[in-house]
C-alpha cells in the first residue's frame, strides 16, 4: 500500500473542501450573519491540513486499485469530518454525531436530516448543506481529477472507485478530460435549472439551494415542508430536473457529440423512464381520491416518484399518509435507484437489467444445459467479471441491509421506520416512512443508530466495496 499517495489525495480533497467553504462564507457575509466565521475557521483548518499533506509529492507513483479505493473511502470520511465542523462551531448542530450525520447525509446526497426546523438555521449553514449535495453528487475525486494532474494509472482507479454503477466508461481518451466533460455537463445543467427556477419566480437563495439539491440528487430543503410551499410550476420544473439528473451522463455526452441514435438507444435510460412512467400512472390512479382531480394526483405522483427513484428525497406532500399501494411502490422504487453514471444512488437500473438478464440466462440454462450464452446490454457483451460483481454486490447489499435493520431494532422503534430508514439512507434518498417520513427527521435514533446510518450512507454512495476495503485487515498488511 502506497500510503503517501493516499494522504496526498486526501490532502487535495481537503484543499478543495477549503475552497468550497468560500461559497457559504460569502453567503453568510451577504446576509450579514455572524456564523460565516465558522466557515472561515473550518476553511483554514481544512486548507492547513490539506497543504501539509500535499507539500511533498509522493516519491513512488504506484497507484493501483487498492490505493484508489482506500483513497476514495478515506477522502470521503475526511471530507465529512471536516465538513461537519461548521455545524458544530456555529452551534446549529452542537452534537458531534448529529453534525456528522447531517454532513454525511449532505455529501452522500442522501438528504436525511436530524434538524427539526431548518427554517431557524442561518442561511450560510443552509447553503453549505445544499452545496455538499452538489459536491458529493458528481463526486469530489472526479472534480479533483478534472483539476489536478495525477500520474497515469491512478486516475482511472479513483474514478472507478467513486463513480456509481457496475462499470465506468471513458468519454474521452484521458480520464482528466472525461472528468472535465462530466463536470461541465453537471455545471451547465445546474446553471440551467437555477435560471429556469429564477424565471419561475423563485428567490435567488432558494433557486440556488434547490438546484444544488436537485443536481446532486440530494434533497435537503430549506423549508420545513421541503418543496411543498412552492408553486406548481416550480414543482414541475424540479420534477423534470430530478429525472434528468438521474439519467446516465454518458447519454448527455452522446447528445452533445450529436450521436442521437446511440443516445436514444440506451437500454438503461429506456428502462428508467419506463419504470418512472409506470410508477407515476399507478400511484396517480391510486391517490386520485386524495387530491380530487386526476391531473393533480398525477403531478404529485410524478414529483414523488421522481424524487424517490432518483434518490433525491424532496417532498411536496406527506406521502406517509398515502394509501398502502402507493407507499409500497415508493419503497420499492427506493431500491431501484437512478441510472449508473448519474448523480443518483440506489442499486441502479443497470444492475437490475443485468440481474434480470442473468436470471433469464439461468432459466434458459435449464432448457439447454450446455448452452453458451452471453449477457448483453446495449448490444454489447457484458463481461463475466461485471456480472459477477453485480451478483456479489446484491448479496453484500442485502447482508449490510439486514445487519443495519437488526442493529436499529435495539432503538425499539417500529419495523417500518427502521426498514425505510435504512432503505432511505443506504440508497441515499432521505425520507422514509412513519417516524422518518417526509415531515419527520432522523433525530429519533440513538447515537449508535445514527452511526449505523452514517455507515450506510457512505457505503451506499461509494457502492459498498471501497468502504468495506478500509475495514478489511488484509488491506493494511504490508504484503
Amino acid at each position: 500500500m502506497n500510503y503517501r499517495i493516499i494522504t496526498y489525495v486526501i490532502g487535495w480533497v481537503l484543499n478543495l473542501e477549503a475552497i468550497c467553504m468560500t461559497l457559504p462564507a460569502v453567503t453568510g457575509l451577504i446576509y450579514g450573519e455572524k456564523t460565516w466565521t465558522s466557515f472561515l475557521i473550518t476553511g483554514l483548518i481544512s486548507a492547513l491540513a490539506g497543504t501539509l499533506l500535499v507539500v511533498r509529492r509522493p516519491e513512488k507513483p504506484h497507484f493501483f486499485m487498492k490505493e484508489g479505493c482506500v483513497s476514495v473511502a478515506l477522502s470521503w470520511i475526511a471530507l465529512s469530518l471536516i465538513g461537519s465542523l461548521p455545524f458544530m462551531i456555529s452551534g446549529t448542530i452542537p452534537h458531534f454525531v448529529d453534525a456528522l450525520f447531517e454532513t454525511v447525509s449532505g455529501f452522500t446526497t442522501t438528504g436525511a436530516s436530524i434538524m427539526a426546523s431548518v427554517e431557524d438555521a442561518p442561511r450560510c449553514i443552509l447553503m453549505w448543506r445544499s452545496f455538499t449535495h452538489w459536491i458529493g453528487g458528481m463526486g469530489v475525486l472526479v472534480l479533483l481529477l478534472s483539476i489536478i494532474k495525477m500520474s497515469g494509472g491512478s486516475q482511472m482507479n479513483l474514478m472507478k472507485a467513486e463513480s456509481p454503477g457496475p462499470s465506468v466508461s471513458r468519454l474521452a481518451p484521458t480520464v482528466r478530460s472525461t472528468a472535465k466533460i462530466l463536470y461541465t455537463i453537471y455545471l451547465l445543467m445546474t446553471v440551467l435549472e437555477t435560471v429556469i427556477l429564477l424565471l419561475c419566480g423563485m428567490p435567488v437563495f432558494d433557486a440556488l439551494t434547490t438546484a444544488f439539491g436537485t443536481a446532486g440528487t440530494g434533497g435537503f430543503g430549506i423549508k420545513n415542508d421541503s418543496m411543498g410551499g412552492y408553486s406548481v410550476t416550480i414543482q414541475i420544473v424540479v420534477t423534470v430536473f430530478m429525472i434528468l439528473f438521474g439519467i446516465n451522463f454518458n447519454v448527455y455526452f452522446l447528445l452533445l457529440s450529436k450521436k442521437w441514435k446511440q443516445a436514444l438507444k440506451n437500454e438503461e435510460v429506456r428502462w428508467y423512464l419506463a419504470i418512472i412512467l409506470g410508477a407515476v400512472l399507478l400511484i396517480g390512479w391510486n391517490i386520485r381520491g386524495v387530491y380530487g382531480s386526476m391531473g393533480k394526483a398525477i403531478q404529485q405522483a410524478a414529483f414523488q416518484v421522481a424524487s424517490i427513484i432518483t434518490t433525491t428525497g424532496f417532498a411536496t406532500v406527506d406521502f406517509n399518509i398515502w394509501p398502502e399501494v402507493s407507499r409500497t411502490i415508493l419503497v420499492l422504487l427506493m431500491f431501484v435507484g437512478a441510472c449508473a453514471g448519474s448523480t443518483g444512488g440506489g442499486i441502479k437500473v443497470s444492475r437490475f437489467i443485468i440481474l434480470l438478464k442473468a436470471m433469464k440466462k439461468e432459466i434458459k440454462q435449464y432448457l439447454h444445459p450446455r448452452q453458451i450464452r452471453k449477457i448483453r446490454v446495449d448490444g454489447r457483451v457484458v463481461e463475466h467479471e461485471v456480472v459477477r460483481n453485480v451478483n456479489v454486490f446484491m448479496v453484500v447489499y442485502i447482508m449490510i441491509f439486514a445487519t443495519s435493520v437488526f442493529i436499529l431494532a435495539f432503538d425499539n422503534l417500529d419495523l417500518i421506520t427502521n426498514f425505510t430508514a435504512v432503505a432511505a439512507t443506504f440508497n441515499n434518498i432521505g425520507p422514509g416512512l412513519e417516524l422518518v417520513g417526509p415531515t419527520a427527521n432522523f433525530n429519533v435514533f440513538s447515537d449508535v443508530g445514527k452511526y449505523v446510518l452514517i455507515f450506510d450512507m457512505l457505503a451506499g454512495r461509494l457502492e459498498i466495496f471501497p468502504l468495506l476495503l478500509v475495514f478489511f485487515p488484509d488491506t493494511w498488511r504490508k504484503f
Binding site: K60, H62, F64, M65, G153, R477, K478, F479
Partner: protein
C-alpha cells in the same frame, strides 16, 4: 562400482560424467542414438542404444553384475519399470526419478513394493532447497549436515560487514565465534582457506556452523537473519506448488503469479491458502501492484531462464526481499554468478547431487562411509560427511599431527549430538560424524583425507 544409467538427458549425462570421474564403470542407456552421440566421445562409458526396460538391453548393459541402476528418463512410469526389471534381473540397488506430483503420496509404498532403493523427485528436491533458503535468508546457499545440526552456509561479503582485509585467524580470534570458514570463491578461483587467508569484499564465503552459531555470527557482522514471513513466487510450475505448500506450512503468506488462466485455476484449487494472481509476472506494474517492494522473499520460477534472471535482478534492486532465482541451464554460470541474483538454484544440480550422495553412501557399506555429499563452491569442491564406525588410522590422532591432503579441511565434528569446530589439538573418535571440505574429489573413506 558398476553403474547403469538409463536416460541420457541433462541429468543422466551429468551423472555419467561425475561417476566416470570417480572411476566407476558406467553404462549409459538411451532410446535415442542421437542423444548418446551428443555425449559422445567425451564420456568414458559404455553406450547402449535401446529401451531401458527391455531385458535384452539391460543384459547388454551388464545388469547381472551391476551394483546400481539409475533410471532418469523423461517418463516416470518407464523409470519405475526399468528399476523393477533391473531389480529382478540382478542384485543391484535402484534409483528412480519420479516427478509427477500424483505419485507423491505413494512414494514410500512404491519404494517398498517395487523394491526401489531411492526415488527422487527433482521438483520437490528443488522446492525443499528453496524453502530451506527462505528459512535462513542471509545465506545464498545452505547445505545441511548431520540431519541439520550443522549447516554449510554461503554468503557474499559486503563492505558493511567490515571483514575486508581480515585474515581468518583474526575473525576467529576477535569474535570467538564457533564457526569455520570452509571455502571462499573469488571470481573464478576457489580457495579452501587456512588461517592466514585474507578475505576481500564480494568474496563468496562458505561457513560451517550450527544454525544457532551461524545466526550469532551473522548478527555480529550485521547480516539480517530473520526468517521471511511472506513470499512472492513468479511462475506456477510444479516446483511452485511444492514450494508454496512448504511455505504455507511454515505459516508464510504466499503470492503466486502465473500467466496461464487455466494453470491459475489449478493452483487456486491445490493451494487454497495462497493468493494466486493471473498475470504476466514480468509486468512491472503487476509486480508493484502485488507489493513487490514489501515482499520479504521473491522466487523466480518461470520456465524461461532469461525471464528468471531479469526478474531476479529486478527484485534484488527494487526490494529488500531474499531473492531466489531458478536457472535451468548451467552453461553460463560464469556470467550468472556475477549478477546480483540472490541465490541461484539449478534443479539439475540438485538432482545429480542427491543421486551422487546416494551412490557414495551405498558404495561403502563397511567402515566409515560418506553420509552426505554436496557440491559446493560452484561444483569445484565437495563437502562430505563421514561417519567413523571403527578404528582407523585417523582415529585418536591430534588433527595437527595428521598429514592431510592439500586443499582439505576437517570442518566440524558432531560428537554425540554436540557440534565441535575442531582446532589443531582435537582428534577424531569412533562414533563421530565428520564434515570434510575439499577440492579433491573422489573421497570415499575417511582415510582418504590423509596424504598417501
Amino acid at each position: 562400482m558398476k553403474i547403469i544409467i538409463i536416460g541420457c538427458g541433462k541429468v543422466g549425462s551429468a551423472l555419467a560424467e561425475e561417476l566416470t570421474m570417480e572411476n566407476h564403470e558406467v553404462a549409459i542407456v538411451d532410446i535415442s542414438a542421437q542423444k548418446l552421440q551428443e555425449v559422445g566421445e567425451d564420456l568414458d562409458a559404455l553406450q547402449i542404444q535401446g529401451n531401458g526396460s527391455s531385458i535384452n538391453v539391460l543384459m547388454d548393459a551388464g545388469v547381472i553384475s551391476a551394483d546400481l541402476v539409475i533410471a532418469v528418463t523423461g517418463s516416470d512410469e518407464l523409470n519405475l519399470l526399468c528399476c523393477l526389471v533391473a531389480k529382478n534381473l540382478g542384485k543391484c540397488h535402484t534409483v528412480a526419478r519420479v516427478r509427477n506430483p500424483i505419485y507423491n503420496k505413494e512414494i514410500n509404498l512404491m519404494k517398498e513394493s517395487l523394491g526401489i532403493s531411492m526415488i527422487i523427485n527433482p521438483e520437490m528436491a528443488t522446492a525443499a532447497e528453496i524453502a530451506r533458503l527462505l528459512r535462513f535468508p542471509s545465506a545464498i546457499k545452505i547445505d545441511p549436515f548431520a540431519k541439520g545440526k550443522v549447516e554449510l552456509l554461503k554468503f557474499r561479503l559486503k563492505p558493511e560487514f567490515r571483514l575486508d582485509g581480515k585474515s581468518i585467524v583474526e575473525i576467529n580470534m576477535k569474535g570467538k565465534h564457533n564457526i569455520l570458514v570452509a571455502g571462499v570463491e573469488r571470481g573464478e578461483q576457489v580457495f579452501i582457506p587456512n588461517g592466514d587467508f585474507v578475505l576481500q569484499n564480494s568474496d563468496l564465503v562458505s561457513i560451517l556452523a550450527s544454525p544457532k552459531n551461524a545466526s550469532a555470527f551473522f548478527k555480529s557482522i550485521g547480516l539480517k537473519t530473520n526468517q521471511v514471513r511472506n513470499c512472492m513466487i513468479v511462475g506456477g510450475g510444479t516446483i511452485a506448488i511444492f514450494l508454496a505448500r512448504m511455505l504455507l506450512e511454515m505459516k508464510m503468506r504466499v503470492v503466486i503469479i502465473e500467466q496461464s488462466k487455466e494453470r491459475c485455476e489449478l493452483l487456486a484449487d491445490l493451494l487454497p491458502d495462497a493468493t494466486v494472481v493471473n498475470g504476466d509476472g514480468t509486468s512491472k506494474n503487476l509486480l508493484f501492484e502485488e507489493n513487490l517492494e514489501n515482499a520479504e522473499a521473491f522466487v523466480a520460477l518461470t520456465n524461461m531462464d532469461e525471464e528468471n534472471i531479469l526478474l531476479g535482478m529486478f527484485a534484488e534492486r527494487m526490494s529488500h526481499a531474499k531473492v531466489v532465482t531458478k536457472v535451468n541451464r548451467v552453461a553460463f554460470d560464469d556470467i550468472t554468478d556475477e549478477l546480483e541474483l540472490g541465490s541461484l538454484i539449478h534443479p539439475k544440480y540438485i538432482t545429480t547431487d542427491r543421486i551422487l550422495q546416494y551412490t557414495r553412501a551405498t558404495q561403502n557399506s563397511i567402515g566409515s562411509n560418506v553420509e552426505t555429499l554436496y557440491h559446493i563452491l560452484d561444483g569445484k569442491a565437495e563437502a562430505l560427511e563421514f561417519v567413523i564406525r571403527e578404528n582407523s588410522s585417523v582415529v585418536g590422532v591430534e588433527l595437527k599431527d595428521l598429514r592431510l591432503k592439500n586443499n582439505l579441511l576437517v570442518g566440524c565434528i558432531n560428537r554425540s549430538g554436540k557440534v565441535l569446530i575442531p582446532r589443531g589439538d582435537d582428534c577424531l573418535m569412533v562414533g563421530d560424524t565428520v564434515v570434510v571440505v575439499t577440492s579433491q574429489k573422489c573421497l570415499r573413506d575417511i582415510e582418504d583425507i590423509l596424504e598417501k
